[in-house]
Amino acid sequence: GDSVTQTEGLVTLTEGLPVMLNCTYQTAYSTFLFWYVQHLNEAPKLLLKSSTDNKRTEHQGFHATLHKSSSSFHLQKSSAQLSDSALYYCALRGTQVVGQLTFGSGTRLQVYA
């Protein structure tokens, strides 16, 4: 079946430094990849989505590029802000099971001043 791997459970860094959160996936089918962000006591919100190989997608200062050759969809930002502190989920729609998203285990990003 489909799977999503987020290797870091917690990423801590100082404000102004670059952010990179890893996401790799496995699926035998066509893919849609998503990044969701969840701030404390709030609903997860869609941050980025992509289904196009090697095309950079950007939103709210974050960007990611889907690389089907390496099955990756890493989330990046050039300069972290305190308000970026949140839980980030990578998710896959592999189209094998209609309607189902497979989520990674999540990465908590903590940005310090």
């Binding site: 459970g9 969701y36 609903a43 989920y89 998710a91 309607g99 189902q100 285990s105």
Partner: protein, 112 residues
Amino acid sequence: GGIITQTPKFLIGQEGQKLTLKCQQNFNHDTMYWYRQDSGKGLRLIYYSITENDLQKGDLSEGYDASREKKSSFSLTVTSAQKNEMAVFLCASSPGTDQAPLFGEGTRLSVL
């Protein structure tokens, strides 16, 4: 704009109790989902529904029932609460099965 409303926000139950969580959306979305969120385990799909009166099991459906009697509402029942269980249950909806779902703020469950 639309909203997804989950009730209650907090739910405390007793071991063995049957507990019902409710979700309402006014987006007029066809597809609705129930996910369970546990720390370090991501979001795991319990049930989803692609239209009124439709039910599809997710990977985590054992121990749960669901009901979609109206397009706008989707209920989840914990059939027998497990002692010391703590989790957040997230409801979501999307216009169709190929769009990213929007999430509600969750129901936080604690079982004594």
